[in-house]
Amino acid sequence: MPYDYQPYPYTPPPGLTAPEPRHRVVIVGAGPIGLAMALELANFGVASVILDDNNRVSVGSRAICWSKRSLEIFDRLGIGDRVLEKGVTWKVGRTFHRDREVFNFDLLPEDGHKMPAFVNLQQYYVEEYLIDAVLDQPLIDLRFQNKVTSIDQTGDSAFVDVETPDGEYALETDYILACDGARSPIRHAMGLDFEGELFEERFLIADIEMEANFPPERHFWFEPAFHPGQSALLHKQPDNIYRIDLQLGWEADPEHEKRPEVVIPRIEKVVGHDRFRLEWVSVYTFQCRRLDSFVHDRVIFVGDSAHVVSPFGARGGNGGLQDVDNLGWKLAAVLQGRADRGLLDTYDAERRFGADENIRNSSRSTRFMTPGDGAERLFRDEVLALAAKAPFAQSWVNSGRLSAPCVYPTTGPDDPTLPQGTRPGAVAADARLATGEWLLPQLTGEPTLLALGTTAPNLTGVRSLTPKLTEDLTHRYLGDAACAVYLIRPDQVIAARWTDATDAQIQAELDTIWTGARCI
């Protein structure tokens, strides 16, 4: 069944008839990032208006691979269960050279996490679920067919001009969040540089519907017999939809390649028969770029508007959701007077760090997949040749290093005898508690003191959690230590940890969460 792209209703906004009261947050763009941003802010009690020039979810599967971290965020936003239920859960990736498997990876080799490593789900479903949640949330005013035509800002206000089917109006707001995608009209209007690298390569992308018993795995081929000399990627999605990416080379003519009579024979070679229906096809090039700064006074860039990566590694949509994760509690704290505006600079610093890691990883994958002539191709080919005879080279084969949250650089107190995976700067690891509940959902909304094998001091402005020790908690948070106290930020990032600390030390670190002083 092809997806039914229903238009969402347009309602004439109040601003057409009378000036609207000043808003706290105007979000431009109702893609996954803008919608998630509004829901995240609403969780902190912050109201927002979302403006979108369109009235439908996006066409084609687009961002399909949602990482464990994104699923944890979706869970918090109220759509985790729907995404899990509908999506195709997977954790194994297989990489082939010609007809031989040269490498495979298991992204979540251990149990004891609520969310799987990855779920494949077409972007249009994710947007639909997010819109449903937004429409249920009274703090969010979602306006379709409201196109932003210009923005402006002074020291203490930002302004938006909006065009609707019924005419134009203007809004005043504390902050504008530019969630307007890779081609961001706001970024262009502000004349901001978008520095980075364009890869001279084209990929065909197609969604096909077919009955098949393909396993829920990611398959990547270098130089397969069905597509000589190039690369190919296959993902399974729900509704019997398969996503195929085929490398075409820089010389390929995108308009020619998109024609069904050209696409279908290519797909037939991949799947070995003609019993499929072509649902969506596109040709893309890719770039790795980012803004120099994501925060421009009262205009803040989030997601693809701030940074773009090549698709291999699923670091676009997932990276954007990590921006949402990082910005939500900080912006809420600033708007609610709990923190100074300087805290927003730590969004800038931390997410630039995250974007750089994503860009570095996706650039490396892209270079391995589409090597330049000379030494680049020589080493790529020899890694592939070595992978057949030396185990070490298998993991060097780079068909994408899949999205995982970065560990933010921080000077937060650490006790290095505790496990590396839960060091300050890292997202807290999930675990099932003795009560049967999951740890991560308990860590939302406000800072948390997680006391293990000891009791947490009674401090104000922080939630204390003293779960009974389990094997997973001990393994992930204590290692050989008998006890520890972890201070965790509202975005579930570990701020500090001790095996022995005074109440005053803990209180001091709690205060720095709101100043951002530990951020490097």
């Binding site: 080493f379 890694v383 070595l386």
Partner: protein
Amino acid sequence: MHLISTPNLARHDDFYEALLAAHRSCTADESAALNAQLVLILANHIGDLDVLTEALDLAKRGPD
């Protein structure tokens, strides 16, 4: 750990001969492929990014 750039391989003449022998009868492309594999194999064996970085720097540097 630092890169050793002072004498460290006692039977270097034997290795040099073996290296040339491995390349004998190779075309230029085959030699390049052989060298590339050697670099990758040895890099994995050394297993220390700092040492490898020093080796890259030494190879790129002009004569003192």
